[in-house]
């Protein structure tokens, strides 16, 4: 019994089912274009599943089908059993189907059309869900989208039976209705009509089966089960093929096995036919790409004319790329390498036979029998294809595989070595396009060459000059002697700075929009990396990218962030602490450096990220060798913040009258946290070092601070470590002096410059310069006595608490008035200006004139404030008084 049912699993002819499947897959591709990537992946996985576990799959299907045929036999017992056992979605559907059929049958008995109609709708739905009603699918697309497609489905027998019976019954009913028109009520009539239409539609698809059912009802139900015997055969052959394919992967001696196990012979003449076959099967389910690649490798060996070679190479490279069609995983390394080699061969072939060119715009050559020949009056034989896309794809694939490899393994280093080869391919591609562009008739778009140059630039901009030089040397020794580039001549390329400059200049003059912006950022990055601070900063400012960077895509924004950080680091190396802090503030102050620089995914604590977003973010990650060291970055940022914040903290001190200016919130928070700790051990990480140094600096112990800072290991990663350390100790000395003066000024009447100079080991002139600066900026209420070279602190400058509070109060009062005025002005602006008779003159002017006074100088703001206070406040209010 069970074996019979088991056999029933493969009952319908496998041909028809596979046909349907094809139809489905194709349709699916059409339907959900946007999900294509996914579905492809799915089908890919599924395909491999099938390969791996053919047997188990079979049994599963068998179970499913067992149920189906079980539906015929009305034995409830077995039904129960099955239900208990099988829980797959498909089986559930089948159960539902059965129930619906029952419903229809009941309806037939009672002549209740509403019941039948709902039953039919249900059946149709279920079938649709099973992916069987090919034609209706499109209509019910929406309903259908979420439903998983059931594998290996086919029209269930009961369905055929019921629809044909239903049709008969309906015809009868219609005939009856004609005779006695008044018998049916409205709902019934409507339901009947609906059923009629549905049946018409669906029955068309299954006409043959219905016919055969009609011809002999019993036999149809039985016979199809008998037909099982020949069915497994075709399946077998496929299986052999599938088994063979993975073996091939391992060894090179690939036996030429065609479809159905036949041995095929390849001749140069048949190349195009094979290629066409392969091209046609591309993207379809159940095509074994590895096998096809094997075939094409074979074809490549026998290809003897350039045209054949070009065609085969183009196909094989794209076939290799198809291997890694999923978004996250890269193509296998060996395939990448072969693809790279094949691309090089392709470029060489194209170089050797200049009458063949590969362009995007070429028409497909339809004739498989004879290759195209050079037409009179034409210079080239065009082959359809796009070298630039291949190069880009190759680059992307390397990038992807680098993303996936753990950067601390030797594997990563090995993989990274391929970059040299890739770089060669890119430049060769560039040469090829330059060659093409020499001929004006060809009309090669500027875009392709821009893209390829951009790729080249992107492989260069983040590297030190020496590395670029090595790359270039390898490159030029690899290409033929006579190869020369118009854009980047051999002679220019030896100097990295020059090369980058040339590439960027080319892009500036020949491209626009995003490529241009990227080129600019790359050049700025390069300059900053090579310590050309002013030039890079000026370029960055002149590019005006700060204003429109939010309009660019995420990749470019990341590049922008990287460039910004690099400029900041460059400023630090130059000893420009203020500029460095300012530049780094935006990125480092956010606490999301990792995310902003695409060097790691942040843990999102508060807002949930969808898997989709997360995947996108993962894709954006930069490979490790392009990373900017985050710890170094943090270290630089914190050190800069310390040098600026500690004197500021000392200056503001406890006085409440000065608005507390905060330079770096992040730093302040860390400092506060550090101060709250009860026990502080010796510093362990960079942050601890900086924090303890800050503490020491605040206490005036600059030597201790210097030691802490110098102990940070990560400075070794900077070039010229010693210089940077010297620079830092100099800065610390100066800032220490300032901090000391701010902190201890209230406790001194006079202070000898000599003492200070001894205390901070600074030159006396340097000390007086620092002091002079502080006095002249009115940071310090003191004056110098030239005769005795003493610093004399003025008395009565320190405010008592009452005095400072009074100052604060007066400040607040005037702020309040100002706010009121502004509110009133805003309110009256919208209405039909009741008191704007004088024609609100100079409202903007006077307003904006007042503003800088408020935010600006700490003490120098008084005069301006006063001026603003006594004047008419312009606009509405001024007019109001006058009127």
């Amino acid at each position: 019994m069970s074996s019979r049912f088991f056999r029933g699993g493969d009952d319908s002819s496998s041909e028809s089912s596979s046909d349907e499947e094809e139809l489905l897959t194709e349709e699916e591709e059409d339907d959900n274009q946007n999900q294509q990537g996914d579905s492809e992946e799915d089908s890919d996985d599924m395909g491999s599943d099938e390969d791996d576990s053919d047997d188990s799959d079979d049994s599963e299907e068998g179970a499913g089908r067992f149920l189906k045929s079980g539906a015929d036999s009305d034995s409830d017992e077995s039904d129960e059993e099955v239900r208990a056992k099988v829980k797959s979605a498909k089986d559930k559907r089948l159960d539902e189907l059965e129930a619906s059929i029952k419903q229809i049958e009941n309806g037939q008995k009672n002549g209740d059309w509403t019941l039948i109609s709902s039953g039919v709708t249900h059946v149709v739905c279920i079938l649709m869900q099973m992916g069987l009603l090919a034609n209706t699918r499109i209509e019910y697309d929406k309903l259908n989208r979420q439903v998983t497609k059931l594998p290996g489905g086919k029209t269930p027998k009961p369905y055929i039976r019921i629809i044909s019976e239903l049709e008969d019954f309906m015809n009868e009913a219609l005939a009856k209705q004609k005779v006695t028109p008044k018998k049916m009520n409205a709902t019934q009539a409507r339901a009947l009509n609906a059923v009629k239409q549905k049946i018409k539609k669906t029955n068309k698809d299954y006409q043959t089966e219905i016919d055969s059912y009609r011809a002999n009802k019993d036999e149809f139900m039985e016979s199809s089960e008998e037909e099982v015997a020949p069915a497994p055969k075709p399946k077998k052959t496929v299986k052999i093929e599938l088994d063979e394919a993975p073996e091939v992967d391992g060894d090179d001696g690939f036996a030429t096995v065609g479809k159905g196990g036949k041995t095929l012979t390849y001749t140069p003449e048949s190349i195009f036919k094979h290629l066409r076959g392969i091209m046609e099967s591309r993207g379809k389910k159940n095509t074994d790409r590895l096998e096809q690649i094997g075939v094409m490798e074979k074809l490549l060996e026998i290809a003897n004319t350039p045209y054949q070679k070009i065609r085969v190479l183009l196909t094989i490279v794209s076939a290799r790329f198809d291997l890694g069609s999923s978004i996250t995983s890269a193509i296998p390394v060996e395939h990448w390498k072969s693809a790279e080699k094949e691309l090089l061969t392709l470029l060489t072939v194209l170089e050797e036979s200049p009458e063949y060119i590969v362009v995007e715009s070429a028409e497909e050559w339809e004739d498989d029998e004879k290759p195209p020949t050079l037409q009179a009056g034409e210079k080239y034989i065009k082959v359809a294809g796009s070298v630039v896309s291949y190069v880009e794809r190759l680059d992307d694939e390397l990038n992807r595989s680098l993303q996936a490899i753990d950067p601390h393994t030797s594997e990563y280093v090995e993989r990274l070595q391929d970059e040299g080869a890739l770089y060669n391919v890119i430049v060769r591609g560039q040469l090829y396009y330059e060659q093409l562009r020499k001929d004006k008739d060809l009309d090669i778009s500027q875009d392709s060459i821009n893209r390829i140059i951009m790729r080249r630039l992107e492989h260069n901009y983040f590297k030190p000059a020496q590395v670029i030089k090595t790359f270039e040397e390898n490159l030029w020794s690899a290409v033929t002697e006579k190869a020369e580039s118009a854009i980047t001549p051999r002679s220019e390329a030896s100097d990295a700075a020059n090369l980058v400059n040339v590439l960027c200049n080319y892009l500036y003059s020949n491209s626009d929009g995003i490529i241009r912006a990227r080129a600019m950022l790359c050049q700025v990055y390069f300059l900053a990396l090579h310590s050309d601070y002013y030039k890079s900063r000026d370029m960055m400012l002149m590019s005006h990218l700060q204003e429109n960077i939010p309009n660019f895509d995420v990749q470019t924004q990341i590049l922008y962030n990287r460039t910004l950080v690099q400029i900041g680091l460059c400023a630090f190396r130059k000893g420009l602490v203020y500029d460095a802090q300012n530049t780094l503030q935006e990125i480092c102050g956010s606490g999301r450096q990792k995310e902003l620089l695409a060097q790691g995914v942040m843990m999102q604590r508060f807002n949930q990220v969808s898997p989709e977003q997360e995947r996108l973010e993962k894709q954006r990650q930069l490979p490790f060798h392009m990373h900017i060291n985050l710890e170094l970055l943090e270290c630089v940022y914190l050190t800069c913040s310390m040098l600026l914040e500690i004197p500021l903290l000392a200056q503001t001190g406890s006085s409440p009258d000065i608005k507390k200016r905060i330079i770096s919130k992040t730093y302040r928070r860390m400092l506060e946290y550090h101060e709250r700790q009860i026990f502080t051990g010796p510093p362990e990480n960079t942050r601890d070092h900086v924090m303890q140094a800050s503490k020491a600096l605040a206490a005036g112990e600059w030597k201790k601070a210097t030691t802490f800072i110098h102990n940070i290991k990560i400075w070794d990663l900077m070039p010229n470590t010693e210089e940077i350390k010297t620079m830092l100790s100099k800065q610390i000395q100066e800032e220490g002096l300032r901090t000391y003066l701010f902190t201890y000024a209230p406790f001194y009447d006079t202070l000898a410059v000599e003492t200070l100079s001894g205390m901070f080991e600074l030159d006396a002139t340097k000390v007086s310069a620092v002091v002079s600066k502080m006095i002249s900026h009115e940071e310090l209420a003191a004056s110098l006595d030239q005769v005795t070279s003493n610093l004399i602190f003025r008395k009565g400058v320190e405010l008592s608490r009452l005095q400072s509070l009074a100052l604060t109060l007066s400040d607040k009062a005037s702020a309040l008035i100002e706010t009121n005025e502004r509110t009133l002005e805003q309110k009256t602006q919208g209405s039909t200006n009741a008191f704007e008779r004088g024609g609100g003159r100079g409202r903007g002017g006077q307003r904006s004139g007042q503003r800088p006074g408020r935010g600006g100088a700490r003490t120098g703001g008084n005069t301006q404030r006063q001026a603003g206070g006594t004047q008419f406040t312009g606009g509405a209010l001024g007019a109001a008084v006058r009127g």
């Binding site: 002091v771 004056s783 110098l784 030239q786 009741a834 008084v881």
Partner: protein
């Protein structure tokens, strides 16, 4: 051309090579002339000779054949200029005649009162009017332009200016009109009509802002030129100072200076510092000085000369010794600079004031001897100078001649005064507010 520039900048202090590309041939000539005179004064025969030959080369392309011929004679020590000059002279004369003929009619028309009275502000209507009434064609108008250009090349700046003015009134060709405006500006500068030069300056400036707004590069180039050209009125005409400084400090122009010609900072500093004593409004002067200091700091990596070094030492490093040294050098530079030569003394005087001012701000007691040294004066002069300073500016300072010191008295900023000042306007403003609210 390059020779002369090389010769001039041999000692490295002159920035003529940077200025030259932005000046017209004719505008450059006075600069070279100045250099030549200087060289002669100093008795540097070699240099003077080189400059002379450079002058000839510079003017060879112009129509000032007579002058070039004389220069040639001077240079080679001959009596008779070679044939080619006479030939060229003939050609120029012939050209002149041709141009005169071409413009005869229209020039004649424009001298008639009734015609001039018939003109309105609408250019198109004017042209129509002239065409109808007097048969003036477009070619004739353009001939005016050509003739103006020719005159300019001949060195007849006055008549060139007239021609170009007339052309501008009639022409509707925007490009040519702006070219004519530039030409007129050049003519006015060279003929020393500073007031009309300033008007033209305004015209050019407006033209740059309005016509080239979608071509940043051309805007930058034109502005650079304009900045250079306006140096002539800036240092030669008192009334030009304010409008031109205002222009220099406006955002587009200061950006231009910072981007394409940082050497202008030298003149900007000089103008601001020299203008100190003359400026009516000391607060704007203070602001300008502050701005200049900022720009000097920003551009320090790109451009430095003794004058910027002076500012740097005084206001950024607060190193008075360095400031003194820089001032000494700056004086030299000023004396040998075409634009600054006339105002060198005023500059040094004003610079001393500045040194003294910031010195007084920082020190409470200082040695007269030291201070005099810092000001670059001997002690006696220094004392007199300081006394004058105290009297003029009403500084709160006393000289203690027993110790030979000056004692400054820095009054502390009274906190009560501050509070009063801050709250002074409050009542009034509240009243205004109240009035406004009750009205609405």
């Amino acid at each position: 051309m390059e020779d002369v520039l090389k010769a001039v900048s041999a000692d490295g202090s002159s920035i003529m090579p940077q200025l030259a590309p932005n000046l017209s041939r004719h505008l450059l000539f006075p600069l070279i002339q100045f250099e030549g005179d200087q060289a002669e004064e100093k008795g540097e025969e070699e240099k003077a000779k080189k400059i002379l030959s450079g002058k000839i080369k510079l003017l060879e392309d112009t129509n000032m054949t007579d002058y070039v011929a004389t220069l040639y004679c001077e240079f080679h020590g001959t009596e008779e200029p070679p044939q080619e000059y006479t030939k060229k002279r003939q050609e120029v004369l012939a050209d002149l005649e041709k141009h005169e003929q071409a413009t005869e009619k229209i020039a004649d028309l424009l001298t008639q009162d009734e015609v001039v009275n018939g003109l309105r502000s609408d250019k198109v209507a004017n042209l129509e009017f002239l065409k109808k009434e007097h048969g003036v064609t477009m070619e004739m108008v353009n001939a005016l332009f050509d003739f103006g250009q020719f005159q300019f090349r001949c060195g007849q700046y006055g008549s060139a200016a007239d021609m170009l003015y007339q052309f501008r009134v009639l022409s509707t060709d925007n490009d040519k009109v702006s070219a004519a405006t530039w030409g007129k500006l050049g003519s006015e500068i060279l003929s020393g009509n500073w007031e009309s030069a300033i008007d033209e300056l305004k015209n050019v400036r407006e033209g740059i802002d309005s016509k080239l707004f979608n071509n940043p590069r051309a805007q930058l180039d034109h502005r650079t030129m304009l900045i250079h050209w306006s140096l002539f009125p800036l240092f030669n005409f008192e009334g030009a100072r304010e409008p031109i400084l205002e222009m220099f400090f406006s955002a587009p122009y200061i950006n231009t200076i910072q981007t394409s010609c940082p050497w202008i900072l030298r003149y900007l500093i000089a103008a601001v510092i020299t203008g100190r004593s003359r400026a009516r409004n000391s607060s704007t002067q203070q602001k300008q000085l502050k701005d200049v200091v900022r720009y000097v700091r920003q551009e320090a990596y790109e451009y430095q000369d003794p004058i910027t070094q002076f500012v740097n030492a005084l206001y950024i490093a607060h190193d008075f010794n360095a400031a003194r040294e820089a001032l000494g050098k700056a004086e030299q530079v000023c004396r040998s600079d075409f634009f600054l030569a006339s105002s060198a003394d005023a500059f040094v005087e004003a610079a001393r004031h500045l040194i003294c001012e910031s010195y007084c701000k920082i020190f409470s007691r200082m040695n007269i001897r030291d201070l005099s040294a810092k000001l670059g004066l001997n002690p006696d002069d220094g004392e007199r100078w300081i006394v004058n300073l105290i009297r003029e500016t009403r500084l709160d300072a006393k000289i203690d001649s027993q110790d030979g010191t000056v004692v400054m008295n820095h009054p502390p900023n009274n906190v009560y005064q501050q509070v009063i000042e801050k709250t002074k306007g409050g009542f009034f403003r509240t009243q205004v507010l109240n009035a406004a609210v009750s009205k609405s």
